[in-house]
Assembly symmetry: C2
Homo-oligomer: 513 residues x 2
């Protein structure tokens, strides 16, 4: 809602140095505010740029706080682009009866990325302003004060940082990924070293709104299905699930470890009658993998549920969950998706409803038909995963599918074997654009079978004793899965590198900022 | 929805050993099922106990999966209590034309906590069954199969584990906390060592539903206020915020640390234009504190927001947030609260709308009036916090209040000083039943002032360089706070020990299970 702003400015302000030395008709209308220490409450009404429209605001006075995206001065006039999150508005100021040269100079010399409080009148423009998201109006500035000054030289330009990127990775394995235009591009390491600046791009503003949205949709769906949220410990006493790839923590006088997943705990929650649980929490992997899709710390969206008869009850739940998320993104976050596509013009993500579900065996058959040689019980290599994704996209026109019944040999000990063929198991992976984003299974809920399976995989029972014991006092058949948040978002948007969907990514070489 | 179950049982079952050796009229109607490996899909319809009612189900056949809470047999008949989460239903079986002695014996000998699939007819009862949550109906069992057997001896009885607790801590500092009844009580360590059993009590089923609810309400309110969810890294390169109390992690060939809070990252999100953010994530404190209210790992509900003029915009937001959470719990989760109160009969949590807000100075004056001697700028001791809570409860009848304007000396370097009296700061704590549950403030958003304040507190600037640098390219005035989830729940319910509101708690002496 917009209301007229009182003419008097009740905020005490300091004059810019220059303005102090000569008569200035604009004295008191511009300058640098003292550091905000909550000196006053004025009840002034603030407007947001995305609320403004020609129809409602032409001729009205508005007050807003925005970043200075850009300025240019030509002596008697100055232009500036004001930015809030996604949106930009042109501001203009001309020397005139109430506007001094000094004031125009002050505006022209504002450093990019400074915060300003601006008051002015909204005016319609005859020629569309292409450089701003608001094309048909501009702000005629009457007052302007710096709230927070930016250093004059930015590590890189935000405009350069939003230049369209060559399609690398996902969609362009066969094309030349060198851009042939003359646009400046900001490298990923430069961005991550200056992440606070990089995150201000419209692309990143959109990406992290979408990340928030994936979590929101995940919870919204699961809550509607009577799941509750749990919080399992990240510091664990024994390097239980697998000794390798685990970070050690100095825990007072003993050694502890960082949890590689909430696997054991969400299963214990099943043994404790919570029936349907989810968790959104960091997951730690001490893997020295320097690839486009590995992080040492990522956000796991985990779920686990008891079922009555068949683990396909879990797979059906996952199917509905993902369709809900994909539809939710498409329908509720179209603007954010478009904003990302301006920099990463990747084809829209396609999915079916219900989702495509094929068996591992069928997947292997498709790969063999395409000339790949592999054994029945081999795991899929990354290259074969990608290829299978392409074959499936070509055949079914979907970027999302479920691969069911993996070989027992390639799954963890707690995976339930298939009842008729012990070489296969009741387990599944889910894929987006040919990369795995969820791994899951029916779990072994019988303590005797669980010990047997652990021994077969050469796991010391004593190291997992509390976990095995949890099943000794009655446990329901159950299954679930774990989703990598950053992967889902990277693949949905086709961004080609997981560091683009982690706000402050961690890999073997990066623990800062 | 309930539907009649087909008479034929399409699940292949194994007979109990005994039944194999003599003619058994009930053969095929009871026994031990093979381990569920998802052998079949029968499309049978399952009912939940909490859906059952005398009006709708009397005379109907139902199929359900439940735990055996209890059994007792008297030769020709057996009774069992069937349990799902919160609710229990009595089952009965009599020797008769279709029910053999062996079948009755099988039922009577089921071990407590086993999972069974039971089919039977719902029958109304003339005398209320006091021992079950469903008083007016019982299930006449016609088929019963064990899905998962529990070991015969439980570490403790679930009935003992829900016996009413003497009010310790919060409400009874002046009363004798030794119970004078003869009820068996299960100690906290025994519970935590066997947490999977302990979590099955109706009290714990309710507590962890309420924990999930607090997070849901927190997010629901903040999402409605245009906050987005972020995920900040828990592995950090430098022990930045304070060198002490931080867990060290071996990070490949270097040393890293576990984040003590998302403080720096949520502020960097402010510098990156996200404007309003929240995070729900684990927080790690290497404090060797063995008290009722300290954990080494807890769940932080953090938020941070830019404001226009005065940090009271943040405090107003927090006020509305907590009132929303308290009302939401009271209005949407009355059953869960009642379930907890059966074991912990603590007076209802009281709050005002808007919340009570007093200054630190006023708090000190109240304490002095009550005979406490303290200096103006001393921090509140735990005892004084408690006492102030009592004085405020007596004067204002509220268990929740906000204490504003703490002395600068007792707050971190990044806290904004008061504009007129530098001995005080724009900072606040929030209290429930006299214990702190949130600490927050306006933050210093000016890099020059930030360095000054850090130096005054003897912090090496180089150790916080990326954080300080984040403010050099324009930063909005902002503030926020961090809430301890387990504390909020412990104090809301008056449970007296934070280990009761952490599913798998971590303290200096406990890292398992």
């Amino acid at each position: 809602m917009l209301e007229l702003v009182p003419e008097t400015n009740p905020v005490p302000i300091e004059m810019a140095d220059e303005a102090k030395n000569e008569v200035d008709v604009s004295a008191g209308l511009y300058g640098v505010e003292p550091i905000n220490q909550s000196q006053t409450k004025t009840n002034r009404v603030w407007t947001r740029i995305d609320e403004l429209s020609a129809a409602k605001h032409t001729g009205k006075t508005v007050l807003l706080r925005a970043r200075v995206h850009n300025t240019r001065g030509t002596g008697k006039q100055a232009f500036l682009v004001l930015r809030q999150r996604f949106v930009t508005l042109q501001g203009v100021i001309f020397v005139g009866p109430a506007v001094s040269k000094q004031m125009v100079k002050f505006v022209a010399s504002l450093s990019k990325e400074s915060f300003v409080d601006v008051e002015g009148t909204i005016v319609g423009v005859p020629t569309p302003i292409e450089s701003c998201t608001l094309h048909d109006i501009e702000l005629h500035v009457t007052k302007i004060f710096t709230v927070s000054s930016a250093m004059p030289r930015l590590p890189f330009s935000l405009d350069d940082a939003t230049n369209v990127e060559p399609l690398e990775g996902v969609e362009t394995t066969n094309s030349n990924s060198e851009p042939e235009d003359n646009l400046i591009r900001v490298g990923l390491d430069t961005r991550l070293d200056n992440r606070v600046i990089d995150l201000r791009t419209t692309t990143n503003q959109a990406i992290y709104r979408l990340q928030s949205a994936v979590c929101l949709l995940f919870r919204e769906f699961l809550t509607s299905q009577n799941f509750i949220e749990i919080h399992s410990p990240k510091i664990i006493g024994t390097a239980s699930e697998s000794g390798a790839n685990v970070f050690a923590v100095t825990y007072f006088k003993q050694q502890a470890y960082l949890a590689q997943s909430p696997q054991f705990y969400k299963q214990m929650a099943m043994c404790a009658d919570f029936e349907r649980v989810f968790e959104i929490a960091p997951v730690f992997r001490a893997e020295d993998s320097n690839t486009h899709r590995h992080l040492t710390e990522f956000v796991g969206l985990d779920l686990e549920m008891a079922f009555y008869e068949h683990y396909h009850e879990v797979l059906d739940m996952l199917d509905k969950l993902f369709v809900f998320i994909f539809k939710g993104l498409r329908d509720r976050y179209a603007n954010e998706i478009k904003a990302v596509q301006r920099q990463f013009p990747v084809p829209e993500f396609k999915f079916l409803e219900p989702s495509l579900r094929i068996t591992f065996k069928e997947g292997v058959a498709m790969l063999r038909e395409a000339g790949i040689e592999m054994d029945d019980y081999d795991d899929l290599s990354t290259a074969n995963e990608k290829l299978l994704g392409k074959l499936i996209k070509a055949k079914y026109d979907t970027d999302f599918y479920m691969l069911d019944k993996f070989p027992t040999a390639v799954r963890p000990f707690y995976t339930m074997p298939d009842p008729s063929d012990p070489n296969y198991s009741n387990s599944y992976d889910l894929f987006m654009r040919g990369e795995e984003i969820l791994s899951g299974a029916q779990r072994v809920h019988d303590p005797v079978l669980l010990e047997e399976r652990a021994k077969e995989k050469h796991i010391e029972i004593s190291s997992i004793q509390p976990y095995v014991d949890a099943f000794k006092y009655g446990a329901p058949p159950h299954g679930g899965g774990g989703i990598g948040l950053e992967r889902v978002l990277m693949l949905y948007l086709g961004l080609g590198n997981i560091r683009r969907t982690s706000m402050f990514p961690r890999d073997p070489k990066r623990v800062a900022p």
